[in-house]
């Protein structure tokens, strides 16, 4: 790939304009990308760090150098893997969210982002978009809908053959795709496996166009010449996501305050309701509390009454504690004051992808999913 010297956000936007336009035209005219042409991939990352230091991507395979630009908060990440060099761009959108942009191939981009996010205590995490959050992307502007993907894998059935639906993967394009989703969700057998993994939208601004695919881990893949629309879309979803995080960290987090005559307790637990009953609690527990991805939760368990378990858990991303109770039809989460609420959205979204896509997350008496906007 021919490297262009980037020293500011504006340089980067110029580069994107030409690359995104080229890739859009290649696909539109020739139905394929030329060699060295890649779509823009932007990952919306939730962070509890002030800076990205080079140690985040260090190891046998990878090395990274972080270079400043004219714009504070916009950095160039020069990554080396197996003697090959790659370039990524880090844009600090605010103190809580970063976008990491890439025009490199999708495989190396995925490797680099995973390597940054998944090790313990990186204080970096994906943004986890629930089914409801994903649906709201197109429900707010139904004309923009282009496509969606469904992806579900039953990780809780003891054996694959025991699962009603072990894996479901489906892509649908076109204006009536939404009707197919509604039909699937009416089916008793399939409805619990209809987890949205990608939503594709098309936006037109006068003579500019943006084709954007948004996946449930906050990855935005864009082509077209409406570069600013891509950034606007990211900002909109960042704002929606942030308002959910704020709500659960401010209204639900359990806070203890000392008073002259005792201690008061503010906040209340969040509840993930399952439409599917947990039949194999042991496997469910092992799946969630194995410390491994995607849940990344460490925990010790205690069965406090028949079929009712309590977990004293730790989020491996941040080291924050959280307490969880689980029984056959719901899971209750106590998020302590100061803990990162992203762990709740990670757990919820992955439960939808690996156990029950109909699960919902409630934080109050309103009956609304907390991730709805």
């Amino acid at each position: 790939m021919v490297r262009v010297s980037i020293n500011s956000r504006s340089d980067f936007r110029d580069l994107l304009y030409s690359r995104m336009k080229d890739s859009y035209e290649s696909v539109r005219d020739e139905q394929k990308l030329d060699v060295d042409q890649n779509f823009l991939k932007s990952n919306l990352i939730e962070t509890n760090r002030e800076n990205l230091d080079e140690a985040v991507l260090a190891g046998e395979q990878f090395a990274m150098k972080v270079e400043d630009t004219e714009n504070q908060g916009f950095k160039i990440l020069k990554v080396k893997k197996d003697d090959k060099r790659y370039e990524f761009y880090l844009d600090k959108m605010d103190e809580r969210f970063w976008s990491i942009h890439s025009l490199e191939g999708s495989e190396i981009t995925k490797q680099v982002i995973n390597k940054m996010v998944f090790p313990r205590y990186t204080k970096l995490d994906f943004t986890w978009f629930s089914n409801r959050f994903m649906e709201d992307i197109w429900r707010e502007d139904s004309k923009s809908f282009r496509r969606f993907n469904l992806q579900f894998e039953d990780e809780v059935a003891e054996e694959e053959e025991d699962a009603d639906i072990g894996k479901l993967s489906m892509q649908l394009w076109g204006r009536k795709a939404n009707s197919v989703l509604e039909a699937l969700r009416k089916s008793e057998e399939v409805s619990g496996s209809t987890s949205l993994s990608v939503v594709g939208i098309k936006q037109k601004y006068e003579d500019e166009v943006l084709l954007e695919d948004i996946n449930y881990k906050g990855k935005f893949t864009a082509r077209g010449d409406a570069v600013e629309s891509h950034f606007r879309e990211m900002r909109t979803l960042r704002d929606n996501y942030k308002s959910t995080l704020d709500r659960l960290e401010q209204e639900n987090a359990i806070q203890y305050k000392s008073k002259s005559h005792g201690t008061t307790v503010k906040g209340r637990p969040l509840v993930i309701n399952f439409a599917r009953e947990i039949e194999d609690m042991e496997t469910f527990i092992k799946t969630i509390f194995s410390s491994s991805k995607p849940f990344r939760l460490w925990g010790v368990k205690n069965e406090i009454s028949d079929g009712y378990f309590r977990f004293s858990a730790v989020d491996m991303h941040t080291g924050d504690k959280l307490d969880i109770e689980v029984c056959e039809d719901f899971l209750r989460i106590y998020l302590p004051e100061g803990a990162c609420g992203n762990v709740v959205l990670r757990m919820y979204t992955n439960i939808q992808h690996y156990f029950d896509s109909r699960a919902n997350l409630r934080g109050d008496d309103s009956g609304e999913d907390i991730t709805a906007h």
């Binding site: 205590y121 002259s260 008061t264 307790v265 205690n302 069965e303």
Partner: protein, 280 residues
């Protein structure tokens, strides 16, 4: 297999706190009637004595407080007589908009034990009797808005996260929270994996109301926490946790998966010894 049972006292306190919180999967009759949680582990000084009710709730609209005593065992006439000495002037720290007009009543909360003591005591106070799934109320509330709010409640799957444990709870239950804290600190501090685990700091970190607990309850919990740490040391988990300095409680903790297994087995062993004691 049920591991470390949560004491009735802790369960009842949590259940009552939950009644004032709202949200799904646990009823909120106190919230519905306009009551907020004022304090847990409360302290009230009255003329001639002091009491430590488990919870106080207060309603701004009714200017009324509920002083709540949770009992895992029976209820004695002495306890009732003591609570009856409290005047509304004694609870002036409760958060309502006009505390000079505050009235109050005492309510008692328990299980079958408290129900058995009712024929032997003389009280007009409301008594809430929990069993596994249902709640019964003996005597009406003085604040009439509350009557009817508690009918037909499903009280299975009590939330247990507001008050993690109390003095009555087993070492296993306290160990559960201690290993969680140790793991949390170890993850958050990977550059300097030596942890200094002072008992009071640890208990303050794992119990949100530690500062308000009665000194005798603190003493009980300190002893239990110390036993847990001693048991961890005795096991000499070379790869998981080991003492760095003999003289103080400084440890190196590995946050590997085997540490999780070690913690789980410690809790199970402590639960087993609790079970054997209760069998005796």
């Amino acid at each position: 297999m049920i591991l470390a049972k949560i004491s009735q006292h802790t369960k009842l306190t949590n259940a009552m706190v939950g009644f004032s919180k709202g949200g799904p999967k646990w009823p909120s009759p106190l919230k519905e009637a306009g009551y907020d949680l004022d304090t847990i582990e409360a302290r009230i000084a009255y003329q001639g004595g002091k009491i430590n009710p488990d919870v106080i709730f207060a309603s701004n609209s009714e200017l009324h407080a509920l002083i709540t005593e949770c009992k895992s065992g029976t209820l004695s006439q002495d306890t009732i007589d003591e609570y009856e000495k409290v005047k509304s002037e004694d609870i002036r720290d409760v958060d309502v908009y006009d505390v000079s007009k505050l009235s109050h009543e005492t309510i008692y909360v328990g299980n079958s034990n408290i129900e058995e003591s009712l024929p032997h005591i003389n009280t007009d106070s409301a008594v809430l009797v929990f069993d596994d799934k249902t709640l019964k109320i003996e005597n009406a509330f003085q604040e009439t808005n509350l009557n009817g709010e508690f009918d037909d409640l499903n009280v299975s799957k009590i939330p247990t996260g507001y008050v993690p444990f109390l003095g009555d709870d087993s070492e296993a239950l306290i160990a559960e929270k201690m290993v969680q804290e140790i793991m949390s600190q170890s993850i958050s501090n990977p550059e300097d994996a030596d942890l200094e685990l002072e008992i009071d700091d640890l208990l303050d970190d794992i119990h949100g109301a530690w500062g308000s607990l009665h000194p005798s309850e603190k003493k009980t919990l300190r002893n239990k926490a110390k036993n847990v740490l001693d048991m961890m040391e005795e096991r000499a988990f070379e790869d998981d946790i080991k003492k760095v300095a003999e003289a103080d409680r400084r440890y190196y903790v590995s946050t590997s998966n085997s540490f999780q297994k070690m913690c789980q087995s410690l809790i199970e062993d402590l639960s087993g010894s609790q079970q054997r004691l209760s069998d005796l």
